[in-house]
């Protein structure tokens, strides 16, 4: 270390800390060094136990995360299944490639017109459901890689990886240390830092960043279990006691129940989660505070909060690990090389990351508002209210800067959760409705046939492990 060296200090010893360390070690030029405070790893449930990662994203690139699948440390992720969410229906939450329209009319508008065509036609959501190919693959527990052939239904798939966070963290730690990151047992606060990255949760988020009232929980019970099936999805349920989530990995997985301490005790939460999971073997469990929310200025001066220090929502929808990946991606894009760049980098980072986190958290809020406990929650914020208004008015999404979800995703989600638009695009009236229905029918048949030919996800993973 030289006197002019710029030292990046990372506080924390979990996934966020080691991922940031490996990331910085890869991208920083000479003259910068990374020092990580040798903190104990987080307790069960304090950071995501299962990571949902983009196959082309920073976490996989840093760690060769795809290789973890072949070693039995993960699987694929196609989406989340909200169990028994509305009128006894399971609701799929997936991010597939957009479906093509018919004769220039968005598919959702065609479907809505068909739904209004005849009183005998199924309702809007029921008509849309068979067109959500990725949702059907996910619900069936099957899997195949996306196809580059645009004519194939498999080209609609947009899978992610679902990885064991502890294994991933260990790998990132090795990579970081090999790349020159120094681990210190000393208190890193004594070091004159160029930048300090804080990764550990700091209790309740303040002001507009406190989402406790919107999401309705402030503690989280997490269990590690053995056995169970290995589907390419998260299962989520809105129990009376809280929000339950199950994340499978090969040979086991993790489950959690996010609950409100003033409405349920830890024992009640344990009983509820165990009942929901059924007869599985619990290997470990932990109950921790989880006040959901986000830091609305995660980068302030020379301090940058990432991971649980920047945002924490729990395991539902894999949100926490997805947010971490977004933070890391933006950190690379906003990396400062000198002190006089920090202010501009912080502003760019905060704008991009905070709006992304808000969009994603809005989606979770919306899903919970439409669940059986929705009446207990604070109402939608401005952006979410705008989305709801535009969908219910005209079956459309809303263009917002930095929205990670496309319009079709929001439309499918809102329709699935029971919202009904007042009207559709007037262009849909121009279509020959019989021809349009025939087109939809052919699409569904193609999806049926493709789905039937896909292997089970667990089979696919087994083949991967065998080198197939």
């Amino acid at each position: 270390m030289t006197g002019t060296e710029k030292i990046w200090v990372i506080q924390g010893g979990g996934l966020a800390a080691w991922a940031a360390a490996a990331l910085l070690a890869r991208h920083l030029p000479s003259g910068h060094s990374v020092l990580i405070e040798a903190a104990a790893p987080p307790a069960l449930g304090e950071e995501p136990e299962v990571v949902i990662a983009d196959p082309d994203g920073v976490l996989v690139q840093l760690s060769d995360g795809a290789g973890l699948l072949a070693h039995g440390h993960g699987g694929f992720f196609l989406g989340s299944l909200l169990r028994n969410w509305r009128d006894g229906r399971d609701i799929a939450v997936v991010e597939q490639e957009p479906l093509p329209g018919i004769d220039g009319v968005a598919l959702a508008d065609v479907v809505l017109r068909v739904a209004r065509q005849s009183p005998d036609a199924p309702d809007y959501a029921a008509l849309l459901a068979p067109l959500q190919f990725q949702a059907r693959v996910m619900a069936a527990g099957r899997y195949a890689h996306p196809s580059p052939d645009r004519q194939s239904p498999r080209s609609l798939l947009r899978p992610r990886l679902m990885l064991d966070a502890r294994v991933l963290t260990a790998r990132l730690r090795d990579i970081a240390l090999r790349a020159g990151v120094r681990e210190t047992p000393e208190d890193a606060r004594e070091v004159r830092a160029f930048m300090t990255l804080e990764t550990r949760a700091n209790g309740v988020f303040s002001g507009d960043g406190d989402w406790t009232a919107r999401l309705g929980y402030d503690r989280c019970l997490t269990v590690r279990f053995a056995g169970g099936d290995h589907a390419p999805r998260l299962d989520i349920a809105n129990l009376e006691e809280g929000l339950a989530s199950r994340s499978p990995l090969p040979g086991g997985g993790f489950a959690s129940l996010a609950y409100a301490a003033d409405r349920a005790t830890a024992d009640v939460a344990k009983t509820a989660l165990a009942a929901w999971l059924g007869g599985i073997d619990v290997a470990a469990q932990s109950d921790v505070a989880l006040a959901p929310g986000l830091d609305t200025h995660p980068w302030s001066g020379r301090r940058l909060a990432i991971g649980p220090a920047a945002a924490r929502f729990g395991d539902a929808l894999g949100l926490d690990s997805v947010l971490l990946e977004r933070q890391l991606t933006q950190l690379v894009a906003s990396l400062p090389g000198a002190s006089d760049q920090i202010s501009a980098c912080a502003e760019a980072y905060n704008e991009a990351v905070v709006r992304d986190m808000r969009h994603r958290a809005d989606r979770l809020h919306f899903i919970l508002l439409c669940g059986s406990q929705g009446q207990r929650l604070a109402p939608a914020g401005d952006d979410l209210a705008r989305r709801i208004a535009q969908f219910t008015s005209r079956n459309a999404g809303v263009g917002l800067d930095g929205d990670p979800y496309d319009a079709q995703h929001w439309i499918m989600l809102m329709a699935s959760l029971g919202l009904m638009p007042r009207r559709y695009d007037i262009q849909a009236d121009r279509l020959d409705i019989k021809a349009a229905m025939a087109s939809l029918g052919r699409m569904v048949i193609a999806f049926d046939q493709t789905l039937a030919a896909l292997p089970a996800h667990s089979q696919f993973i087994d083949r991967l492990r065998e080198g197939g």
Partner: protein, 508 residues
């Protein structure tokens, strides 16, 4: 059987005004609503002249024309159009400066790092290459050459887009012909009054000077600066931006084309404003936009006339305007499109773009009579965002100057919009460019104008410093060579136009 979308559908649309905005609206609505029971009536008066804003366009116009079913060659023939690869700014930073804001990117990312970071780092190390050396559309425009882009992402010819320079009055006439052929009813008459619904406050009808009433469910106000409905009937507040963009007048005049017809529009800074030059096939459009507080009309005209490239073909025509926008471009059942909704000087050819955006947004959320307020609210949000971001982009051209005239000194020292100050500081310190999804000007445009106005980053993405200098040097050299050799193989602009017309059977 036609299935009704919902209760209270729109049955009758009335468009006020037959300029570029009016006929673009009529053409788009008549195409999109063909076969529906919606009727469209356009009211215009031959007594009222049209402003004929914007002869220069942005690449988005192509998607609009395609969506209307308009063949590109037909459009070129009908409007005496030329192609456009960007806008040249002369003397804007300081006298003698010149740069082109191209419709395309500079270079290509290297190891995942945006190109301009690499360029800035190399520049700091003494590499003298201009950033335009890495832009095919800039170098092709300067050489008066043009060809259409290709889709192969490996080709240099996939790195740009193009627009048109056309005669706006011919464009309006062409669209009038198209629209009337699609069933739009044109009514000759001057609107002198309006009828408001006592219960809802909506406009029920407009009254013509001969006493006829034209009623409708939805009114599109394309009546120009006066805003016959949005302003005079509904009194919608106008947000005045003249403190940021003080030019309030223009003289316009066409002249003969003498120089080679370049595929670009030119904006030359003058002592109290700027002058445009837009070369068409049959003439060249010229105009001098100026601040009347800084120069007299006589001097403004003299400046314009003494800087024409060819013989003037008409007397200069004076235009007055106030920069800004309506706080609500959609109020009640009236949507303001074009100058009635707001005005931004045509420095970056945004006039027709804003018309187009107003139309496509209206079509996307085509309302019914029930619950129009929710649609209006969203429409106004989208349009306001677009106006505001274009405003910042225009202001950048003025404030980042090093000229000595009083007008330019005032522009340099004025209070900037906060949203702009942050953008410029971010670029200066670390090469960070605005990052938004909603808006016409994306990072390459900001880069072109920032660098063109002599704002160069002092810092860059530190990842550049990990790259091997000799590897970078080789890559950059190869990029410059690729631009040069591709330009060399590109046909002359006017030759391309004539050949295309000949192939289509237009010119012999």
């Amino acid at each position: 059987m036609m299935i009704q979308n919902d209760a209270g559908p729109i049955r009758k649309i009335v468009i006020l005004g037959g300029g570029t905005a009016g006929w673009m609206t009529a053409a788009a609505l008549s195409h999109r609503l063909a076969g529906s029971p919606v009727s469209i009536e356009l009211v215009e008066s031959d007594e009222i002249g049209i402003v004929g804003v914007g002869e220069a366009t942005l690449p988005h116009i192509r998607a609009f024309n395609t969506a209307m079913g308009i063949d590109e060659q037909t459009l070129i023939d009908q409007t005496q159009a030329t192609f456009k690869l960007g806008i040249q700014f002369v003397d804007w930073g300081r006298p003698g400066d010149s740069y082109i804001h191209p419709f395309g990117a500079y270079g290509e990312p290297i190891e995942g790092i945006d190109f301009h970071h690499v360029w800035a780092a190399r520049r700091a190390m003494g590499d003298a290459a201009d950033i335009s050396d890495y832009s095919y559309p800039v170098r092709a425009a300067e050489a008066n050459r043009f060809q259409r882009p290709v889709s192969d992402p490996g080709s240099m010819l996939s790195t740009f887009s193009y627009a048109f320079q056309f005669d706006a009055s011919l464009y309006a006439a062409f669209l009038r012909q198209v629209s009337c052929g699609r069933g739009v009813v044109r009514t000759e008459g001057r609107v002198v009054d309006h009828v408001l619904n006592g219960a809802t406050g909506d406009v029920d009808a407009v009254v013509l000077s001969d006493g006829r009433r034209v009623s409708g469910d939805l009114f599109v106000d394309c009546s120009g600066f006066r805003g016959r409905l949005i302003n005079q009937a509904l009194e919608t507040t106008f947000e005045d931006w003249s403190h940021w963009l003080p030019c309030d007048s223009a003289f316009a005049v066409p002249c003969r084309t003498t120089a080679p017809v370049g595929p670009y529009t030119r904006a030359t800074a003058r002592a109290a404003g700027w002058q445009w030059r837009i070369p068409l096939q049959h003439r060249t459009g010229n105009g001098h936009v100026f601040s009347s507080a800084h120069i007299s009309d006589e001097d403004a005209v003299a400046t314009l006339m003494s800087n024409l490239e060819g013989q003037a073909l008409a007397e200069p025509r004076r235009l007055s305007f106030k920069t800004g926008r309506r706080q609500r471009l959609w109020s009640r059942n009236v949507v303001a499109i074009g100058l009635s909704g707001g005005f931004l000087e045509p420095l970056e050819s945004t006039s027709i773009y804003l018309i187009q955006l107003g139309i496509t947004t209206l079509l996307d959320m085509f309302p019914d009579r029930v619950g129009m307020a929710a649609d209006a609210q969203e429409y106004n949000r989208i349009m306001a965002l677009e106006f505001d971001r274009i405003r910042d982009f225009l202001v950048l051209h003025y404030v980042a100057n090093q000229r000595d005239e009083p007008f330019w000194r005032e522009m340099r020292t004025m209070t900037w919009p906060d949203s702009l100050s942050a953008k410029v500081e971010a670029f200066k310190s670390r090469g960070l460019l605005p990052d938004y999804d909603i808006g016409v000007f994306l990072p390459p445009s900001w880069l072109a104008v920032l660098v063109g106005q002599n704002i160069v980053p002092n810092g860059w993405d530190p990842r550049v410093d990990r790259l091997e200098p000799h590897v970078l040097s080789d890559k950059l050299g190869a990029l410059r060579d690729a631009v040069r050799s591709t330009v060399d193989r590109t046909p002359d602009h006017m030759t391309f136009i004539r050949d295309a017309a000949a192939r289509a059977g237009g010119l012999q």
